[in-house]
């Protein structure tokens, strides 16, 4: 077995890990409603997960000043005054992790008022862990084939 064959094997394995289609479990989309309390300068809860295709209703409740909620990637937003709960409804048709943030200047720390919406499982995280493991394993047998530089006496 030469080194080229082993290298080819690992490259093939890497491609499989990176791009192989995963078995898709049939998930029936649901309607999910979240209530998010917004205050200076945090959302509570600040992270939530849905399945792709779910209908998501976000009820934004401001408890001190006017806050907003902008979902990056989906490019949709709402704005809520205290006492006026607003609901943002959308269909989570794009999988991935998306940041949501306040889009109404609400004070000094306003830029740090962020949260995360996760749609579906984070496949790229698991694929990149797999690739890293593969790279470590692959390095061990391949390292013996690396030509050693000879000491020049």
């Amino acid at each position: 077995m030469n080194s080229r064959f082993i290298l080819l094997l690992f490259v093939m394995a890497g491609l499989v890990v990176a791009f192989a289609p995963l078995p898709v479990q049939p998930i029936t989309p649901q309607e999910r409603t979240f209530r998010i309390d917004a205050r200076q300068y945090a959302y509570s809860p600040s992270e939530f997960k849905v399945n792709p295709g779910d209908k998501v209703n976000i009820q934004l409740v401001s408890t001190d000043v006017v806050h907003g909620l902008y979902v990056d990637g989906y490019d949709i937003s709402i704005e809520a005054d205290p006492g006026q709960t607003k609901t943002l409804s959308f269909v989570a048709d794009k999988p991935g992790s998306f940041r949501f943030r306040c889009n109404v200047t609400c004070g000094a720390m306003h830029p740090f008022m962020i949260g995360k919406l996760t749609v579906g499982t984070n496949n790229w995280l698991y694929r990149s862990i797999g690739l890293a493991v593969l790279a470590v394993i692959g390095f061990l047998p391949l390292s013996s084939f690396i030509p050693q530089t000879k000491n020049m006496d």
């Binding site: 205290p82 006026q84 004070g107």
Partner: protein, 333 residues
Amino acid sequence: MKRSELISRILITVAIVSVVGAPLYFWSHTPLIHVHIAEDGGWSPDVIKANVNEPLNLKLTSDDVVHGFAVGQMDMQSVDVLPGKVADVTLNFDKPGIYTFFCTRWCGINHWRMRGTIEVSGSPADPSTSSGQRPEPASVPMYVTLGLDIDAPHDSPSIPFSQPSAINGQQLAVNLPIDRSTEYYLGNSPYQVFDELGSTSLTEIQRWNVVASIWQSNTTPESLANGQHLFAQNCAACHGENGAGNGVFADDLAAADESSMQTMAGSDNMTMQSPVDFTNPTRMLGASPALLQGKILRGGMGTGMPMWGSIFTEEQIWDLIAYLYSFQFDYHN
């Protein structure tokens, strides 16, 4: 260069500079009003002087959070005052007097303290409609003419077992000898009307249904919708979106305790009041529209309840009151 060409070049330059420069000059000479949350000083300046029939130009900018600007009892679109941006407002006053301007976006627990005045002097545009230099006197509110003590307890001694239905009461009310004047409705609490119906042969719930139908006949869907809009914008932050007195600031008010109250004579004899629960029938059914008008006009005098007399028009207050009773009466089916 020909002489005529030189002159035309100078003329064009002067024209362009004056067209662009003159508005810029006036804009830069309009004072900029800085807006902060009430704890940091509110409006600065908070007293503005103006003259009748001269447009008043204002520039507003916020130094912290989102605020809004509107003048009380004036038919105007409120203007959002955003941090880092300058909002332009042009106001026209056709009557002299002192106008109150206020913040229209909830900017914290002391949002309602953000008020300022515009002192408009000069003589009114049309002397025939108004009497000389003096502003028209405000009409005396009904609670004063009726001699109501708006701070006295006004609990209803009896409450219905279920929500009274106006539709069920309508048929019963047809043949009853009821005073259908607006004054009767405004001056009496639902319980008083219920009590007067005791002489009829109706059962208790039927009497309450008749009361609900009387209250419904004194309002319109438009009034209720307007009242609901005003409630959401101005009241819901403390009184709750469903009127139950549990708005997002209710806990903060309780936690702030004395610091959320203001009084001229010291806070010794004051007790902290939580926002009123409009879904509580004992309280609401014992209150007449005139009493509620007094409370809204004057405010809570030291509690967190603002004084709305200089902000809302009389019509807006009646719309709001009609909406408050809809927490007690079923107007739909």
